[in-house]
C-alpha cells in the first residue's frame, strides 16, 4: 500500500521534472537570439529534412483519403438524392478535422521520429556535449532550427494535404461517379467559410505542429544515450505525440465548433 503510494508519488515527481526540463529546453531554443547569417542555412536544411521529405507521404495519403471520403460519402448521400453535397462534406471534414489531425499523425511518424532519433544519436555520439565544449549552445544550434522548421512545415503540409485530398475527392466524385462539377465546387464554396473553417483548421495545424515538434525534440534531447534509449525515445515520440494530438483535437474542436 505504502509502496503503491510511493510509486505514484515518484511517477508524479518524474513527470513534473520532465515537463520542467522540456520547458527549459523550449525556452532556451525559442528565446535564443537568432543569427540571420548562420541561422538561415540551418533552417533551410531542416525545412528540407522535416518538410520536403514528408511531402511524398502527405501527398499520397491526402490523395487516397480524399478519394475514399468521396466514395464513402457518395454511397450514403446518393440514397437521399443529396450527392451534390459531396463537395462540402469532403471539404469540411478535411479542413476542420482530417487535414490537421492526419497530417499531424503522419508528421509524428515521419518527421518526429526522425528528429528524435537524430538528436538521440547526436547525444549518444557526444556531438551535443562536443558542441557545448566548443562553446556553441546546442539549443541554438541544434534544437532551435529544427523547432522552427517543424512549426513552418507542418501547417504547410496540412494545407497541402487538404488541397490534394479535395482534388482526390473531385477525381472520384466528379470524374468517376458523375457528380456535377459545378455544384461540387459552388455548394462547397457556399458552405465553407474562410474564417471559420480554413483558419480554424490552420490554427489546429499550428498547435499540433508545436506539440509534435516539441515532444520529438525533447524526447531526443532527454533520451538515455544508448541504442536502447534511442529506440525507446523514438517510440515514445510517436505514441505520445499522437495521443497529444488526438486529445488536443477534441479540446480545440469543442472550443472552435462546439458552441
Amino acid at each position: 500500500m505504502v509502496n503503491t503510494i510511493q510509486t505514484i508519488g515518484r511517477n508524479t515527481l518524474d513527470t513534473l521534472a520532465g515537463i520542467g526540463r522540456a520547458l527549459l529546453m523550449l525556452l532556451g531554443a525559442i528565446f535564443s537570439v537568432p543569427n540571420v547569417r548562420k541561422g538561415t542555412p540551418l533552417l533551410i536544411k531542416q525545412l528540407y529534412m522535416v518538410g520536403f521529405l514528408s511531402l511524398i507521404i502527405i501527398l499520397v495519403s491526402g490523395l487516397f483519403i480524399g478519394m475514399v471520403l468521396a466514395l464513402q460519402g457518395y454511397t450514403v448521400l446518393v440514397d437521399y438524392g443529396a450527392e451534390d453535397s459531396l463537395g462540402p462534406l469532403v471539404a469540411l471534414s478535411l479542413l476542420r478535422e482530417l487535414g490537421p489531425v492526419v497530417t499531424a499523425l503522419l508528421f509524428a511518424g515521419r518527421a518526429g521520429s526522425a528528429l528524435t532519433a537524430e538528436i538521440g544519436l547526436m547525444k549518444a555520439t557526444e556531438q551535443l556535449t562536443s558542441l557545448e565544449m566548443m562553446a556553441v549552445d546546442p539549443l541554438k544550434r541544434v534544437i532551435a532550427p529544427r523547432f522552427w522548421a517543424g512549426m513552418i512545415s507542418m501547417p504547410l503540409l496540412a494545407m497541402i494535404f487538404s488541397a490534394i485530398a479535395i482534388l482526390g475527392a473531385h477525381i472520384v466524385g466528379v470524374d468517376w461517379l458523375g457528380v456535377d462539377s459545378g455544384s461540387f465546387w459552388s455548394i462547397m464554396q457556399a458552405q465553407v467559410s474562410f474564417e471559420k473553417d480554413i483558419l480554424n483548421g490552420a490554427i489546429k495545424a499550428v498547435v499540433f505542429a508545436f506539440v509534435v515538434t516539441w515532444i520529438a525534440l525533447y524526447k531526443g534531447y532527454d533520451c538515455v544515450p544508448t541504442s536502447e534509449g534511442i529506440s525507446k525515445a523514438t517510440t515514445e515520440t510517436v505514441v505520445q505525440s499522437s495521443l497529444a494530438v488526438l486529445g488536443l483535437d477534441f479540446v480545440l474542436t469543442a472550443i472552435m465548433f462546439g458552441a
Partner: protein, 269 residues
Amino acid sequence: MSQSLVEIKDVTFSRGDRIIYQNMSFSVPTGKITAIMGPSGIGKTTMLRLIGGQLKPDSGDILFAGESIPKMSRSELYQARERMSMLFQSGALFTDMSVFDNIAFPLREHTKLSEEIIRIIVLMKLEAVGLRGARDLMPSELSGGMARRAALARAIALDPELIMYDEPFAGQDPISMGVLVKLIKSLNQTLNITSLVVTHDVTEVMSIADHVVILADKGVIGEGSPEQVAQSESPLVQQFLQGLSDGPVPFHFDAAPYNQDLLMGSERG
C-alpha cells in the same frame, strides 16, 4: 604566475547519494602532458566535465588559468571554453558534415575569418594529423582511428591552450594507437599545448606523460613524474600499474561469503 594551467582544489563531487570525489586536489602543469589514470568506473571522464564546466562540484574550486570555473557566468564560461578543447572517446564528429566542414566549424562559429583563410587553416590542421587527403569524406566513411585524428584536428582548430583527451587509445589497433601517441606528443611540443590525457592504457601513456595522476578511492592515490609513480610504495598504485587481477582492488564484487551464499540458495529452493 602559474606553473599550472588547471588546478583542482579540495573538490568534492557526488552524484545522487554516491560520492565520486572527496576533497581531491591535483594540478595540471602548463605546457606538459599530464596523464590521469585509474580503474574504470571511478569517474575520470567526470573529471574532464568538471574542468569543462559542464558539471559543478559540490564544494572546492577548479581554476583554469587562475580563474574559477564553477563561479563563472554562462558567457564567461563560453569564453573560457574557446580556450580549451576536448577530444571525445567517439570523436564526436558531426555526422551531417564532411571532414573539412567539421574542422572549419569552430572557426566559422567563433571567428570572422574569410572562407579563403579558413580553408588554409583547415588544410594546415589536417596536414598535422595526416588527413589532408580525406577532407571531402563524411565521418561515416572514416575508420575509428581516422575519425579520432579528424576530431583531433578539429580540437586544435582554434589553437587552444588546453586539450583534454578522453580515453584516446580505447579500442584502437596498435598502429593507430602508435599514431595517436605520436600526435599527442608532437602537438604538445610544437604548439606548446597543455595536454590532459585520461586513460587506463598504462604503457602507452607512461611513455609520453610528463606528469601522472592516479585516481582511486574517491581521490588521488599517487602523483608525480612517471618514474616517481612507478617507484610508489602504495600497493594500489602497483596493482594498477602492473595490472594484477587481485589486490587492494578486489577481484570479487562485494558479496556474502561464497559457501554461505550457495547454501542459502538451496534453502530457498
